[in-house]
Symmetry: C2
Subunit: 754 residues, 2 copies
Amino acid sequence: MVSRERKPPDDAAVGGMPSPSAGLPPLDEEQVEVLRRVGREWGEAAGDPAAWRRALPVEPNLGGFPAPAEIRPAAYGRHVRVSSLGDASDPRQPDAIEWDEEQGAGGTRRARAAHLLRRTVLGMPLRSSAIARERLRKRVALPVLSADALSSVAYGPEALLAVLVLAGTAGLAYAAPLAALIVVLMVFVGLSYRQTIRAYPHGGGSYLVASANLGRTPGLLAAAGLMTDYVLTVSVSIAAGVAAIGPVLPLAARSPVPLGVVVILLLLAGNLRGVRQAGRLFAVPTYAFVLAVALLIGVGLYQAAGNGFTAEAPAPSHATEAVTLYLVLRAFASGSTAMTGIEAISNAVPIFRPTEWRNARTTLTCMILMLITLFAGIMTLVHLTGVTPNHQETLLSQLAHHVFGSGPWYVFVQLATAAVLLLAANTAYNDFPRVLFLLARDWYAPRVFLRLGDRLAFSHGIILLTGAALLLFVAFGGRTSALIPLYAVGVFLAFTLSQAGMVVHWHRTRDPHRRRSLLLNATGCVLAGVVFVAAVVTKFAAGAWVAILAIGGFLLLTTRIRRHYDRVGEALRLHPGALELPATACSVPAASGPAPEAEGGGRQADDRGDTDEAEREEAPEQIHHLSIVPVAVLDLAGMRALAYAAALRQPVLALHVSPSDEEADRFRDNWHQWGDHLPLEVVVTPYRAIIAPMIHYIEALHRQRPDLTMTVILPEIVPRRRRYRLLHSRVAGRLRRSLRALPKVVVTTVPFHV
Amino acid sequence: MVSRERKPPDDAAVGGMPSPSAGLPPLDEEQVEVLRRVGREWGEAAGDPAAWRRALPVEPNLGGFPAPAEIRPAAYGRHVRVSSLGDASDPRQPDAIEWDEEQGAGGTRRARAAHLLRRTVLGMPLRSSAIARERLRKRVALPVLSADALSSVAYGPEALLAVLVLAGTAGLAYAAPLAALIVVLMVFVGLSYRQTIRAYPHGGGSYLVASANLGRTPGLLAAAGLMTDYVLTVSVSIAAGVAAIGPVLPLAARSPVPLGVVVILLLLAGNLRGVRQAGRLFAVPTYAFVLAVALLIGVGLYQAAGNGFTAEAPAPSHATEAVTLYLVLRAFASGSTAMTGIEAISNAVPIFRPTEWRNARTTLTCMILMLITLFAGIMTLVHLTGVTPNHQETLLSQLAHHVFGSGPWYVFVQLATAAVLLLAANTAYNDFPRVLFLLARDWYAPRVFLRLGDRLAFSHGIILLTGAALLLFVAFGGRTSALIPLYAVGVFLAFTLSQAGMVVHWHRTRDPHRRRSLLLNATGCVLAGVVFVAAVVTKFAAGAWVAILAIGGFLLLTTRIRRHYDRVGEALRLHPGALELPATACSVPAASGPAPEAEGGGRQADDRGDTDEAEREEAPEQIHHLSIVPVAVLDLAGMRALAYAAALRQPVLALHVSPSDEEADRFRDNWHQWGDHLPLEVVVTPYRAIIAPMIHYIEALHRQRPDLTMTVILPEIVPRRRRYRLLHSRVAGRLRRSLRALPKVVVTTVPFHV
C-alpha cells in the first residue's frame, strides 16, 4: 500500500487553482515533530548555531547591498541581476530578497539571441501575483466556456449521418429518432452537471469528483478519459476547422495537413504566451457562430415553409450495409460527439461573479438550450434539404450552399465555423495542462507539470498536448472522419465516472435536495454509461481501440509514477537517527593532520564566540571524510584542485591513472620533486582505460572503509567558448556520471576557466 | 608568438610510433624547477607531509587487499575489478596497482548489452605492451605497402583517357606521350623517395619531413594534403572496387551506394578491431591483382602479336572539345592519380627487417617497377584494343572482356581488382589516424586523437575518417569519375612539400651523397609541383575546389586549435605565487566556528604526529571557504547535503529559493522548528525562475568577497533506473552547468540514491 499518503495542499479546496508553490507543499504536523527531533540530534552533534552564523564570512542579506544601479548586469554568463526590493530593515520580510528579471544585456551572443527569441514569442514574464482571478459576467462567460460544446454541432450531426448513410435511405430514416435521443441525453447530462455545480462550487472537474468520491483508480480513469479527449478535441477541431475554410481558402483544401500543423503551432505559441487572459475577445467567434447557424436554420426553415415543409428526398445512395442494431448504435455513438465540451462550465465555476454557482447554473442552462436548438435545427434542415455527408464537402457547408448559395453569407457561415472550432481547440489548451497539474500535485505525473511558465501558463503541459495532438493529426492525415471514431470514448468515460461520483456524493451528504439530485445524476450516469459502452463496442475496430489503449496506458503510467514517487518519498523521509551528522570534533586531519591547533586570524576572528557545546565523540553517526583528487598532469588546474582539497583540512589522497609504467615512474618523480606534500597513489592501466580503473579503485576503498564519505575532487578545464570544449578531455564529465552510481561518493568539480 | 613551445616527447625520433603515454609528455627542466619552488611554497603553507599521510583513513595501496577471488564483480555500475599484480612489497613498483579488464558480469542490463556488443565487434582489449613492432620481410612488406599504389592503375589510366576522349580521336593521340610522361614522373618520384628513406630511417612521412625542414605552415599543409588524400583514397577505392565487381555481382551494379556504405562500415569495424595486425593475409590480394593484370597484359599482347600488333581503331566518338593545352594538362593531372599511394613505403621504414632503410629502398624499387609495368602495359593494351572509357563499364573490365571474354579469367581479374582496392582503402585507415596522432601530439588536433583504443587502434581517427569518407562517397553518388577531380591535389601537394623539405634537409647536412640526393629530390619536387599546379588549374571547377577548400579549412582549424592550446597551456602553467594555498590555520569555522579545539578520536588518532610547521598567518594567498547549500525541501536528501557541508567545518550558508512569500514564511518556520542550526537565506522569486536568482545571488556574494572560494553543495536525487530521471527535478544538473561559468565557484553534488 501507499506508505506515505501525502496530503494535498490547503488550496486544493479551491478546485485546483494553480499556485506557484504547489511543488513545495507544507509539512504536516508529524513531519514537523520529526523535524524537531532531528534538529535536537543535530544540535547535540554539531554545536552552537550562533557560532555558525558568526563564522559566515559574508553578509547573506543582500537587501542593502549594493544599490541596483551599481550592479553590473550579468557579469558571468546569461543571468540577470538581483534587485533588492525594500531595504534590509523592512520588518515584513526580514531577510528575503526579490529577484527581478531584466533585459539581459550581458552573456554570450547565443544566450542573448535565445533570450530575444523567447521574449519575442512569449513576451515579458509575469509575476506570480498576476495569476488570473478575474471574474466574468455571464454574457462573457457563456461564449468563452461554450465554444467547445457549441462547435461540436459542426461535426456531430455529420458523424451521425455518415454512419446511417451506409445503410442507404433505410438507414437515414433513423436520423430523426437518434437525434431526439441525443437531445434527451443532452438534457439529462445538462441537468446532472447542474447538480455538480451546486455540489462543487469551487469547480468540479471529473478527476476531482471521481477521485474524491470513488477513489484512486476511477479518478485516474476519468483523468485519462478527459486527457485523451482533450488531445482529440484539438485534433478534431483543427481538422474540422481546416475543412470548414476549405471552400473559402483553396490552400486549405489542397494541403490541409501542413495548414493544420501551422495552426496547432500557433495555438502552442499563443498559449505559451498565455492567451487565456484574452477571455473577452473570445466571445466574438462564438456569438458569430451561433448567429450564423441560427440564421442558416431560420432562412432554411423559411425557404422550406415556402414549399410547405416537404422534405426533399436525399440523393439516392446505394446501401453498403444493412440496418442493424449495431449500425444504429454506432451512429448514435458517433452523433454523441456533438455533446463533447459540455463539462467545461462545471470545471470553471470560480471564474463567475458571485454567487458563482448560481450564475454558472444559469449559464449552463443557456448553453444547453443553445446547443439543443442548434443541433435540432441542423438535423431538421438536413431532413428538409435531403443533403447527405460526402467526402468533398462538410455537411454544414452543403447546408449553407443550399440555403445561401455561394454569396457572402455562405462565407460568413464557414468562417464563423472555423473560428469557433479554433476556439474549441484552445479550450483544450486551457484544461489539459490543468488536469495534468492536478495529477502532478497528487504525484501521479512528473512534478515538472506543476511549474508555471514565464507567462503563468503551464508550459510543459501545453507542449505535451501540442505534441500529442500533432502526432494524432498527422497520423490520421487531418481527416475529421478518421478521428471521430477515437473521440467520445474518453469523454463519455469521464462523464460516467463523474456522474457516478456525484451519486456517491449525494448518498453521503445531508443536502435537502439530495434525493432529486441523486436521481438526476444517476440518470445522467446511466445514460452516459450507455453511450460509453455503445461507443466502445461499435467503434472499437474503427479506431476506439486507440483511445482505449491510450487510457489503459495512461492508467498504468500514472500508477507507476505514483509508486515511484511513493518509494522515493519514503526514502527521503526524515526520521531520527537517519542522518550521519557533522561532528564538532572529527577524527580526521583538521585535527590529526597538519594543523591541529586551531588558531589564526581572518576577518571574522574578532567576533568569534566561545563554543560551549559538549563534544560527543562517541556518536556513532558521524561523517568521516576522505577527499580523492584524480590528477593527470601537475599543472595549475590540478594544483588548484589539490589546494582546494587540502584547504578543506580533511584527509586527501591524490590519484594518478597512468597508461604505462614509464609514465607512472615519471609522475612519481615529479610528485617527489614537488615535495610529496600529499599522499599519492598511482594506478597503472595496461588497457589505457581511465574511468573504469578509477571507479574501481574508489569502489575498493569504499569496501575497505564503508563508513567513509569520499569526495572525489575533479579539476575540470572550462573554456569560455562552447566550441572549444571538444578540445579538452571529457574525463571529468564522464567520471562524474559514472561516480554517481557509487554509494557515499560525493563529486566536486573545481572549474578552471581559460 | 607561441609562448610555450612544447617539446615533442623523446620517442618523436622514432618517427611517430604510437605510445599510450603520448598524452602525458614529460616535464622539461624549467618546469621541474618551477614545480620544486611551488612545492616549497606549499610546504610552508600546508604543513608536514607526513601528517597528511598519517591522517589517511584508508590503506591506499590495494596491492595486498583483498584477494582477487574475493572481490565482487562490478558491484556498482558497469565497471570491473582491479586486480593487483604482484604484492605490495614488490620493490619495482612500490605502490602501483594494475587494472585488469574482465567480462563484467554485474551492472545494468543496458550496460551489459553495450559491453557484449563492444566485445563482439571489437574483441577483447589488448594490453599496451602489445603495440605491434613486428618486422616484415620484403616479400610480405611489398604487397602490404604497395596495395594503394598498385591499385591506382585500376582507375588512373581510365581517368587519363576519360579526359582525352572528350576531344575524340585527336585527343586520344595524346594518350601515349602522356603515359610516357607519367612513367617518367613515377621514376623520379620513386628516386626521390629513395633519398627520403635513407635520410629518415625511422619513417619520414610528409608531415614530419616538411615540418622539420620547412617549418610549421608547410608541415600543416602537407598534413592537410595527406589527410584529404586519405579520405579520397577510401572513397575512390571503394567506388572503383564496387564498380569492378559490378559486372560480376548484379547487386553492386544496381545499388552501388548502399553496398559501398556497407563496405566502408565493415572497414570501420575491422579497423577498430585492429586488422592491421593481419599484415601477412593482406599479401594475397595484391599478388593476385598483380598476377591478374600481368596475365591480362601478357595474353593481350600475345593476341595482338597474332595480328601483327596492328592497333584497332577506337570506337568513333565525336569530339565535344578541341585539343587544347588545357585539356592535355587536365588529362595529365587526372592520369597522375595512378601514382597515389607511392609514399607508403617511406612512411613505414621501421617495419622492415634490418637493415631497414636498405630493405625499404629495395622494396620501393620493386614497387615502382611493378607499377610502371602495370601502368605501361595497360596503356599499351588500350592502344592496341582501341577501347575507350564509357559510363557502363570500367576500362579494366572492357580490356578483360576483350582479352578473356566472359569466362573465369575475367571474373578473376575483376575480383582481384576489387580486393586490392579494398586493401588500398584499408591503407588509408592505417595512415590517416597516424597523421592525426602526430598532429595531436604537436597540439594541432584535439588531444583525443592521441588515445589508443581497446585494440590499440586510434579509434577516434578511424571514426573521423569513416565519417568523412562516407560523406564524400554518398555526396558524389559513389561514382569514381566524379571523385577523381578532387583527388591528386592533396597528394601532390604533400609530395611537393615533402620533396622540398628533403632539398632543405640535404642542403643542411654533410652527407657524402648529398649533392646527388639534393638533385634527385629537387627534380622530384619540381615535377610533383608541376602536377600539383596542373591539377589545381585544370580541375578547379570540376571539383578540385572542394579539396582546396578542405586543405584551407584544415590549415585554419589546426592553427586555431594550436593557438587555443597554447593559450590554455599558458594559463595552466605553474609558476610560484600562482596558487592559492591551503593554510594550516584558516580563519574560518573549523576554527572560529563550532569546534575550535581540535581533538577527538578516529582510528588514526594513535599515530598522529606533532605539527612542527611554522604557521604563516600573513600569507596572502590562503584559501577561504564558504559552502552554499541550496535546499528546496527539508527532506533526507537536503539534510544529508547540509550535514555534509557542516562536516567540512567551513562556514555554511543554506539558500532557499521560494516561489511565493507564503512559502518563504513557511520554510523559515520549518527551519526554525528544526533549530536554526545553520544560517539560512531565503530568496523570493516572483517569476518562478530558480536557476537565475540562485546564480545571481551567488554572483553577488562573490562581488562582496572576491577572495572567497565558494562551494555550492547540491543535493541530487539519483534514481537507480534511467527512465525515472524524468520524474525528478533537473535543477541540480542545470545549476551545475550554469555555475560552471562563475569564477571561484566549486560545485559539489551529493547524490541521494533511491
